[in-house]
């Protein structure tokens, strides 16, 4: 389905994402986890051809035999919204405030060649499918009349409209109320074809995805099935991340990763985590490869 | 956080500096008496002590420009002063109590005054009291009040929701104290930017008024009137229109660049509030 190989993203001389490779099989739900600045959003945006001005991607990414990276805008825009769709973090600003919701859903279909009348009818069906109440009426309202959760559902309806092969979600529930988050996650898990789900929230990944990629400093440092990575982390960063997220008994100190995430371009040579890693040695000055079948890690001193 | 000193800021400061310098020097020295009518030098070509030539009355253009800079700055300072002194407190009151009746009244009156542009006010004042520098300054100043009030209001509303104001209010400080101690210093940079932009507009308005004969009266030199006097000679001596025109344009450009540059320099986050033109 999706096959990413050696994806690198640069802004001028600064490498923001380095040599990221992964595959997503049809119907598979993969999580991409990392702190802000880890390069997870840029990875997703480069698959959409939506990188900000001045930021460039190299390497290959193929979706069902079609190239996504290094393709001129004129060609990749035909794939966006049809073969691969994306739901963004901030639902409050993602919809055009001056356009009716139904028209915004229908637009993604007419853009890819569906007749106008048909798109209108199907827009209402889609709003129903993302479990919005009274979809026909809702299609006629404007974004400001909807709550954040409702708007995110509309975004999901837009993303699903042309039945894409891959859905990318970038922190889709972060901006929502906690009570709405769960319903939204269930809905995404239910309707998504193949899914690339980006988040910093470990619990969310665990509830939605089957496999996870852990990113730090623009690289994938560990990848594997959720259950294995979360119960037996190998990379010391993943280990720290999990330890910091565990509920600790009253009175014990919450373990944290020392230091803070360096600014882009300021990560150490070799292993990007070496300056914060309690296990770092001289060996970590050379870059570790991501190794291992199924459950892979890029660490010279992995946890057992 | 301060922004960077940008090219616009420097260019603006240089242009404004030239105008100010010309005005200051004109108090102690000008090449010739700018008001001296001298038939011998009528429409004298540039050169020989007359750097830019002389007009139809034989008055030295360069000297007139220098003293004209004085008139321009004088009108600008008084007009912007009036606008700032009236507009800022009104805008702050409206911004500190955005839902009160007083705020509503202030903004309504503000909108109404806005319907009276400087030129109309000046013409009305001129019709009643006779036109002159004073009526022009007052008219331009009053017409600029709404711009100041709006910007002061917008900036105050932004400042009022910050933590330190909330803390001061929670501590039970009086409104007047908060206004003077906390709000004013924090909207100051925005007001300086507005002053610079308003100054540019005041120069334009003064030039237009003098051009129409509602501004500074002869014989005191003013750039706008120099333009008006030059118009009939446009066919024979276009340079008479060139110099005052250039002076007006460069002075306005200078204050506009200075305003924009200061906004970027003083407080990048205030860029969301635009100075009113």
């Amino acid at each position: 389905m999706l096959s990413v190989d050696g994806l690198t993203v640069r802004a001028d001389a600064v490498e923001l994402v380095r040599e990221v490779s992964f595959d997503i099989a049809p119907g598979e739900r993969v999580g991409l986890i990392g702190e802000s600045g880890s390069g997870k959003s840029l990875t997703a945006l480069s698959l959409m051809g939506l990188l900000p001005e001045g930021v460039r991607a190299s390497g290959t990414a193929r979706l069902g035999g079609r190239d996504l990276v290094g393709v001129p805008e004129g060609r990749i825009k035909d794939l966006r919204g049809r073969e691969v769709s994306m739901v963004f973090q901030e639902p409050m600003t993602a919809l055009n405030p001056l356009m009716r919701v139904g028209a915004q859903v229908a637009e993604v279909m007419t853009l890819h060649g569906r007749p106008r009348a048909e798109a209108r009818t199907r827009a209402v069906e889609l709003l129903d499918r993302v479990r919005l109440p009274r979809p026909a009426q809702l299609a006629r309202s404007y974004p400001h009349q909807l709550s954040g959760g409702q708007r995110q559902r509309v975004m999901l309806a837009i993303a699903l409209a042309n039945e894409p092969g891959l859905l990318i979600c970038d922190e889709p529930t972060t901006a929502l109320d906690v009570t709405v988050q769960k319903q939204m996650l269930e809905l995404i898990a239910e309707v998504a074809p193949a899914l690339l789900f980006i988040t910093h929230d470990l619990a969310v990944v665990a509830s939605v995805c089957e496999r996870v990629l852990v990113m730090y400093g623009g690289r994938v440092v560990e990848s594997g099935p959720i259950r294995e990575v979360f119960t037996r982390p190998r990379h010391r960063y993943t280990e720290g991340l999990l330890a910091a997220s565990k509920l600790t008994p009253r009175g014990t100190r919450l373990p944290t990763i020392k230091g803070s995430v360096p600014a882009a371009g300021r990560f150490p040579e070799g292993c990007v985590f070496s300056n914060r890693c309690p296990h770092a040695t001289q060996r970590c000055e050379t870059e570790p490869e991501l190794t291992g079948e199924g459950h892979a890690h890029a660490c010279w001193h992995p946890a057992d | 956080m301060r922004g960077r000193v940008n090219a616009g800021l420097i260019a603006g400061a240089v242009l404004v500096g030239i105008v100010v310098l010309a005005a200051l020097v004109s108090f102690v020295w000008t090449p010739h008496d700018p008001t001296l009518v001298d038939a011998a030098n009528k429409l004298r070509e540039p050169g020989g002590g007359y750097l830019l030539g002389a007009d139809k009355f034989g008055r030295d253009t360069f000297s007139q420009l220098m003293v004209g800079a004085r008139t321009t700055l004088y009108v600008g300072i008084v007009a912007v002063g009036i606008a700032a002194l009236i507009g800022t407190p009104l805008g702050m009151i409206a911004g500190m109590t955005p839902r009160g009746w007083l705020s509503e009244l202030i903004m309504r009156v503000n909108d109404l005054v806005f319907a009276f542009p400087a030129l109309l006010l000046a013409v009305m004042l001129g019709a009643v009291y006779g036109a002159g520098t004073l009526t022009a300054m007052i008219a331009i100043g009053v017409a600029t009040v709404p711009a100041f009030a709006r910007v002061a209001r917008a900036a105050t509303m932004q400042v009022m929701v910050t933590d330190y104001i909330l803390a001061a209010r929670a501590a039970g400080r009086r409104r007047a104290a908060i206004a003077v101690r906390h709000v004013l210093p924090n909207i100051g940079s925005m007001l300086i930017v507005q002053a610079s932009v308003s100054f540019a507009i005041a120069i334009l308005a003064e030039a237009a008024l003098s051009f129409l004969g509602f501004g500074t009266r002869p014989p005191i030199p003013s750039w706008g009137r120099m333009l008006q006097e030059s118009q009939e000679l446009l066919f024979s001596t276009p340079r008479l229109a060139l110099w005052p025109g250039l002076a007006i344009a460069l002075a306005v450009l200078g204050f506009n660049l200075l305003g924009d540059g200061l906004r970027d320099y003083l407080d990048p986050k205030l860029r969301r509030i635009r100075a009113e033109r």
Partner: protein
């Protein structure tokens, strides 16, 4: 929507009334009695009293105001104390000339500003985009009457292609009418176009950073397609505000430009009125200009409601 419009309409009517009081009160401050001025120093007290009665200036100010303002409501601006001719028809004639001048200037300004501002925003990193910004900054610094003088110098003095001034009614000679208005239109339009370009640029730049433009691209639109379909209407909201202010500025700019090009519009009438101490005429013209500005504000508010569903 209806409620919003009614509110705006109420504001318009109230502002007009208050503006009327302000203009009247202001002009009532004028020292001197119109009747005495009209008859000269040698007039007998009886004659002055008779004329006062005819002018209506013997009555208390509130009654005079009621008369004047009541007249305005059905287009009666009173009769000039100086020329003894009715003011309304004069204003009517001149208003048409000024309106044509202002609207033509606005059209030119828009024709310049929308493409130039959008281009400068889309190419804000390119030298050409930066050059447009810089040019607009310079354009702002040139007052309309100076632009007029420059245009006269280039097109009338040097090229001798267009008249340097004067006005021919369209009914008399449409071609001469058009040629005569070209330079005045350009004087107003070039300068306002420069001002507007900056606002269009910053509005489009703001919109380009909006999330919904990224959404539009994620749907499969290109950069320009997304901007065209989703950006421009959003960008037009702040631009409409400025456009309203600009129209008011243009109206006043027209007063000066009429002087430059000797065009018999409202500005010319106003300045002649002041020169001839024709109080009632000045009062009438000022009132018309102020109401025009208020009306423009009203139209801007209505346009908002049409453009922006959040206001409805």
């Amino acid at each position: 929507m209806i409620l919003y419009l009614l509110k705006r309409l109420a504001v318009l009517l109230a502002s007009t009334a208050v503006a009327g009081v302000a203009v009247f009160a202001f002009m009532a401050l004028l020292p001197g009695d119109p009747a005495e001025i009209a008859l000269g120093v040698n007039a007998t007290p009886d004659a002055v009293a008779a004329l006062r009665e005819r002018f209506g200036t013997d009555r208390p100010p509130p009654a005079q105001f009621a008369d004047w303002f009541g007249g305005l409501l059905h287009g009666d601006f009173g009769t000039s104390y100086v020329t003894s001719s009715p003011i309304g028809p004069q204003i009517g004639d001149r208003l048409g000339v000024t309106a044509v001048l202002v609207l033509g200037g606005m059209v030119i300004a828009l024709l310049i500003a929308v493409p130039a501002g959008t281009f400068a925003a889309v190419h804000h990193r390119n030298p050409l985009g930066v050059a447009i910004s810089a040019a607009s900054q310079v354009g702002i610094a040139i007052p309309a009457f100076l632009a007029g003088i420059l245009l006269v110098f280039v097109f009338a003095v040097k090229a001798q292609a267009l008249p340097s001034g004067g006005y021919v009614p369209i009914a008399e000679d449409p071609q001469a009418w058009l040629l005569g208005l070209l330079l005045p239109w350009l004087s107003l339009g070039l300068v306002q176009g420069a001002v507007l370009t900056r606002y269009v640029r910053s509005a489009v730049l703001d919109v380009m950073r909006e999330d919904y433009l990224r959404t539009a691209r994620a749907k499969g639109r290109g950069r320009m397609g997304a901007l065209w379909r989703h950006g421009l209407r959003n960008a037009s909201i702040p631009v409409v505000t400025v456009l309203g202010l600009q129209l008011a500025t243009l109206l006043i700019g027209a007063v000066v430009v009429e002087r430059v090009f000797v065009i018999p519009g409202l500005g010319d009438l106003l300045l002649n009125g002041v020169a001839g101490r024709d109080l009632l005429l000045v009062q009438g013209v000022v009132m018309v200009l102020v109401v025009a500005v208020l009306l423009i504000n009203f139209v801007v508010d209505v346009t908002y409601a049409v453009l922006d569903p959040r206001l409805r």
